[in-house]
Amino acid sequence: MDWILVFLYVALVLIGLFNIYAAVYDEDVKRGLLDLSLNSGKQFLWMGLGLLIIIVILSIDFRFYNSFAYAIYAGIMLLLILVLIFGKEVAGSKSWFEIGSFRLQPAEFAKFATALALAKYMSGSNFKFERLKDLFITFAILFTPVLLIMLQGDTGTALVFGAFFIMFYREGFWPQVIAIGLISAAIFVLTLLVNEFYLYIGILLSGALLILFGKRTLQRIVLILSGMLLVASVIIGVDYFIENILKPHQQNRVKALINPEADPLGYGWNVTQSKIAIGSGGVWGKGFLQGTQTKFDFVPEQSTDFIFCTLGEEQGWFGSLALIMIFMMLLFRIVILAERQKSKFARIYGYSVASLIFFHYFVNIGMTIGLFPVIGIPLPFISYGGSSLWAFTILLFIFIKLDAHRMQVLLR
């Protein structure tokens, strides 16, 4: 077993526990870390159950995950459908099962299930993205949960599945397609930031420059012109999308990213407050439980999505740096382990793990420091919440299990 990964996992989960405690700490009513009426006490309970899950994962035969990948995937998809029927609506998304006071969010578990199913399918002996059927099935596996989660109204979690493109890239997906996707995203943001008029001038200018200072073959000019048209239509599309397709609260989030002051009562306020909390931490932080801003109740997701604020405020820049370093070590270690796998299945799965953790880390911290729109997804292992903690635990430990048995796999 790879003890480095286990060690990093334990470190992150403990950091999470202490910060959840700090986030809900109230000095008027002094309660212990493990008080079950506090989120930290509950998180400790989830951690205990998480340990049980780890033991189960490690004791099951490693071949189980490969053989039953589709069955697991199918089971979780069924849960995603059932939650649409029997689910409980919380804050506009119908994505929770509620049994008594206990809630479970199946979408969290769809992440590892999809990773397993993709690994299984893509490790098939002659899988190729270039083959239309393979591409189609891969996308079907990926977009089925995305669709179901969108139907629940949980756009944030659905977006997470975009992370699999990092793994696709490693497995030979066309970089051009990914580049086009990223450029579209960049244009999307630019459309929001810059007056459209200047964008069109920019397109015209760069098009003209490309034509003037290059080989003036007919083919190249046609290519450049159609590129210009494409970019222009993306801009028009984005405008239409923002005004007509996004719901008002989503529009506000996107707009608040660009200009937090535009909506000081709503999401802009959250981001501003989040930045004040982190910014006030300074170099060394205010010290454990000494934060004043994060206990301020400025965001409902104090111990879940905005947990990084507490760390930033109380542990300062060095604390944040340390957390980022731990995440980096974790991601590097997973990539290194993934590359040393002998089976394609384990490698693909390993890359999926790295991709998913990276994406959450990227979006979550980005939103707290105002570099990304507010998308409600948790910080892996740190944020409060049983579903998310268990889902990431399962995700990681299946990989640790697979890695522990890498020598037993015959090269295919």
Binding site: D26, E27, D28, I166, Y169, R170, E171, G172, P248, H249, N252, E261, P264, L265, G266, W269, T272, Q273, K275, I276, A277, I278, G279, S280, G281, G282, V283, T292, Q293, K295, F296, D297, G312, E313, G316, W317, S320, L321, I324, F327, M328, L331, F332, V335, E339, Y351, A354, F358, F362, I365, G366, I369, L371
Partner: protein, 603 residues
Amino acid sequence: MNEERRYTILLVFVLVSFIYIAKLFSIQVIDSTYKQAAEYNVMQRITEYPFRGLIYDRDSNLIVYNKPVFDLMVVTREARIDDTLLFCRQIGISPDQFENNMREMKRRKGYSSLQPAVFLKMLSVEDLARFEDYLVDYPGFYIQPRILRGYALNGLANALGYVGEISRPRLDRDTTGYYRQGDYIGISGIEATYEPELRGKKGVKFKMVNVRGVEKGSFKGGRFDTLSTPGKNIVTTIDFELQKYGEYLMQGKAGAIVALEPQSGEILSLVSSPSYNPELLSGREFGKNFQRLTLDSLTPLYNRAIMSVYPPGSTFKPVQALIALQEGVLRADEQVHCPGGLVGDHSPPGYYDVRKAIQRSSNNYFYIIFRRIINQEVYPNTFMDSNVGLQKWADYMDRFGLGRPLGIDIPNEKGGKIPGPDYYDRIYGQYRWKWSTINSVSIGQGEVLTSPLQMANYTAIIANRGWYIAPHVVKSIGLDGKPREEYRQKNYVGIDSVHFDSVIDGMVMVVNEGTGFRSRLPGIQVCGKTGTSQNPHGEDHSVYIAFAPKDNPKIAISVYVQNSGQGARAAASIAGLMIEKYLTGEIKRKYMEEYALKGPFIY
């Protein structure tokens, strides 16, 4: 294959982390504004509640205004009270109440020791004046002004509606994101319909306060602050003096009065009785009073003028005559032989024309002409013929605005019922019913149900000879604005104005030589029609519709008094007095006022 791509991936990981570390360095180490905002300071977000629009009557008398009240807020963490007893004495509460409020406040959802929380709700100006000077001794405590509704004139409660704290479900449904928990919102009546206009726009101020409760100025020079915009004032169509008089006449009775200006559809008074004092639903006692009003068996919160529906009885006869005339199945001066005994009748057998039939309220006559409307012998099969005829009749009724909501600008208007072919098909089956099955409809009994508002509007249609403007209570949004678009359009009912002559003549005769004599006024020609609405549960309801003067009518009115027997008594006397009050400004017929107030209406 593709192994080298791992380096690109790792590079992306490193790059993102590097950007984050740099950004964090910039906000945590370099930029000091965030530290200033937070260091030993807590930012408070103070909501500035806008002034809610005022409500006036048609003569610009103020009805509803704003009463400033004050919530005493506390930021627990900053609060310093050296002597609790002294504090309690100064603000005028008992130490028990102090403990109680503190405990309750901390139990409230979303409570935080760092955020302002309401410690004492809705203090009056006098309360505030008493201890404002002491407040400086107590850091962490401050005053949040709030707006409550005050009533310059007591009356019109059901139409005005009330304002209250927004409910949880309502808050969840709000997609505009305007409302926050604890905000006030118009819950019924005009306050609800015109909520968007009345409420204005909240402002917000970000204030920084240090640990000792001393203000350290605004955050980032007030860049985030917004000013509140006051709501728009509203001028209603109500003549408050007439309204008050109507409420006075209706005291001790259950029922409704609706008075309209026929040419404009403006509602002059909208009386629902019993009613309540609007002050009851404004202020600290809201919860207690609301519960009491809800449990009251006389349902004072129920706006009978627009929500109660009942059979119109004989007041329904003029519209039947108009339809028959327009359909060409009846001539105005045609002498119809009424043999009597077709249906129970107060009116003797003999020959009747429209005028006499309305004056004497001949059931047999309207029984006969309703048959002519329904069975026009378009089809030889009487079942099919009745179906077509009734549909035609129901379409007229719909154009008259009977049996459907008229779209008044007060929520929860009820439609009532005009039974059409679909309705009888459901009950008896298609082509299983004919005229004789449904003939009680001819005299406004049976399944027909209308509201006092619809009856007043229908009277206005007769006064206007064929058209109406949808009745409404708001004349102008802003002090010299216009009513909403839908209250500026004429709706024609499809009856030629010539047909109204004989019907109006009949209504004149009702007043001058018939059952409507209690509404007869010296020098003003009133046109009216009495009705008695059959009530299987007890005494019949007294109903009356009228308009006046006959030429160039200024007022159309419907009166409905529950369990008071014939329309000629309670309803007609009240309608007459209302018209007298509105047109002459005073009551000369004191004996009639006495009669209307005291009865007896059931002999």
